[in-house]
């Protein structure tokens, strides 16, 4: 058990995040833990689709690159790496991590958390699916993944086994932080108040650069210096749950009460009831106090007893998304883009047999992002985007093809055609009883 503050740092806030800020933290951050949060809601389901095509795949493709970049520093400084990069295949990710350590000739004990994959179990329970209001068995789409949100317990257990690298699949993002904090500070995870405080730390850090000025910056209302070299945050957490948030001197970005205030409420539906597998955290009384340059004290979180049921993300094969884009500029550009859209729509329905309602049209530069709530009357240029949700790869390809063929068959002055077709994994949610979800921690030899 640790008396002094424990330092936990954010190494990544999403699967595609930058690597160099984590290297900076590993090299001179004096961290106890470096956490890479790399799973979105769809990531596990998308990983499962890859795993079905290749049994050795399904984990985060950037896992090896991240570990190669930070492990030598982490080994030197005694920093433990914790990541959910295992995605749909934590075992294979563990093997990959071990090979990275061997290649680097560093001694790293890798522990893997499994048990989030509940595909077989969930079919037996046949729960109600939130989005459809029906039983799982009543949904016609092919179910390819079911991932339970594990909590902090397995992470704390992995750390207690002396792991240098902990790899998980689906879990609650804040649990990647709460687990190590509970282990180091001797917290009982059944103590809802402390679990709430640790969950606040995880919630603030899990999006990495979003606490230090990323997704915050506005050159007029909220200027942030050095975004190209944005520093990722860390927290010094004391046994009473008080956290001092900081970032390294010499890195870009800003960390102050405004950046913290925004991240506190990010994706939080009800600030008094932030539900994780570990706690129903209450952030409504959280305060931030400045404590010097790029240092902020966070306190005031609490919590109520954890829920009896565990959230499960269900991944279904969801057909294909096809899209095509083309730019029109200058006089009457919006009129020409509208004409182009009508032509594409008519051909997709009449020649390719698409349903009219499956086709979406956006005029980028003329208010598309605001979904019809605002329209620029006379933009300097507009980029037509036609997209459609279709059952096959062939039909998805047709969408981009019909946009591209406007070059020689459509309105004047259309340029810069681009096309894309990709398979969609549709994600829905349900609950399962806690005792139906069993985790396991394995040390990779």
């Amino acid at each position: 058990m640790n008396d002094g503050p424990v330092r936990v740092g954010a190494g990544a806030g999403f699967a595609g995040d930058r690597i160099d800020p984590a290297v900076e933290l590993a090299r001179r951050g004096e961290l106890d833990y470096l956490v890479f949060e790399c799973l979105g809601e769809r990531t596990v389901a998308a990983g499962q689709a890859r795993r079905l095509a290749d049994p050795a795949a399904g984990y985060d493709p950037l896992l090896a690159a991240r570990l190669r970049a930070v492990l030598p520093y982490c080994v030197a400084s005694g920093t433990t790496v914790v990541t959910n990069s295992g995605a749909a295949n934590p075992e294979a990710a563990g093997e990959r991590a071990s090979r990275v350590a061997v290649d680097l000739d560093v001694a790293s004990r890798v522990a893997v958390v499994t048990g989030d994959d509940v595909l077989d179990v969930v079919r037996g329970h046949d729960p109600e699916v939130w989005e459809t209001g029906t039983r799982l068995s009543e949904i016609g789409d092919e179910l390819i993944s079911a991932s339970a949100y594990l909590g902090a317990e397995p992470v704390a257990e992995a750390v207690s086994l002396g792991a240098d690298v902990v790899i998980t699949g689906r879990g609650a993002d804040p649990a990647l932080y709460l687990g190590p904090l509970a282990h180091e500070l001797g917290w009982d995870l059944g103590d809802a108040d402390l679990a709430g405080k640790g969950t606040l730390v995880g919630h603030l850090l899990e999006c990495a650069g979003q606490l230090t000025g990323g997704y915050f910056a506005d050159p007029v209302t909220k200027p942030v210096p050095g975004l190209a070299r944005l520093g990722f945050p860390f927290a010094d957490v004391s046994a009473d749950g008080t956290a001092v948030l900081g970032k390294l001197a010499g890195t870009g970005g800003r960390l102050d009460t405004r950046t913290c205030g925004e991240q506190l409420l990010y994706e939080v539906d009800d600030p008094s009831a932030y539900v994780t597998p570990d706690v129903v955290a209450d952030f409504s009384g959280v305060t931030f106090t400045p404590a010097g340059e790029d240092r902020v004290i966070a306190r005031g979180a609490t919590g109520r007893a954890r829920p009896d049921e565990i959230k499960v993300t269900l991944g279904f094969r969801g057909g294909w998304l096809g899209e095509g884009q083309l730019t029109y500029a200058g006089p009457r550009c919006l009129d020409r883009a509208r004409l182009a859209a009508d032509i594409v729509r008519e051909r997709l329905v009449a020649i390719h047999g698409l349903e009219d309602k499956a086709i979406g049209v956006e005029y980028i530069g003329a208010g598309a992002a605001f979904r019809g709530l605002y329209e620029a009357a006379d933009p300097a240029e507009v980029r037509l985007r036609v997209s459609a949700h279709v059952p096959s790869a062939e039909l998805a390809t047709a969408v981009g093809w019909e946009v591209e063929s406007l070059y020689t068959n459509g309105p004047a002055g259309g340029g810069g055609a681009r096309a894309d077709a990709r398979e969609i994994v549709a994600v829905r949610s349900c609950l399962m009883p806690r005792d139906a979800v069993k985790y396991a921690v394995t040390v990779v030899s």
Partner: protein
């Protein structure tokens, strides 16, 4: 600001997040005076009207006196969310700036 209509953009910052089909907007007033004005004028009804026909259910407003801040929960705006909709910004991340254009009268 004399002669100009007061907008949310003059008083607060807004951060957008998504939960499935629901858009979550956190509004952070820049000072206490701004909080008081927004508390009075930036009601759930005002936000609902600003997002017009996209909204499919009740808009809920949470007031956080400690921050201070407001959280708005706006159902339906994301039309199925990142996996259900084919629009370019399926998360609705750009929509924080739509709320900033709301005129407070």
């Amino acid at each position: 600001m004399s002669g100009q209509t007061l907008r949310v953009d003059d008083l607060a910052d807004v951060r957008a997040g998504d939960k499935g089909d629901t858009l979550i907007l956190a509004v952070l007033p820049r000072d206490e005076e701004a909080f008081a004005v927004l508390d009075r004028l930036l009601t759930a009804d005002a936000v609902r009207a600003h997002f017009g026909s996209l909204v499919t259910g009740e808009v809920r407003r949470h007031v956080l006196a400690a921050s201070p801040a407001f959280v708005f929960r706006i159902p339906g705006v994301l039309d199925g969310g990142v996996t259900g909709s084919t629009v370019l910004d399926g998360h609705g991340k750009t929509l924080s700036y739509h709320l900033l254009t709301l005129e407070l009268g």
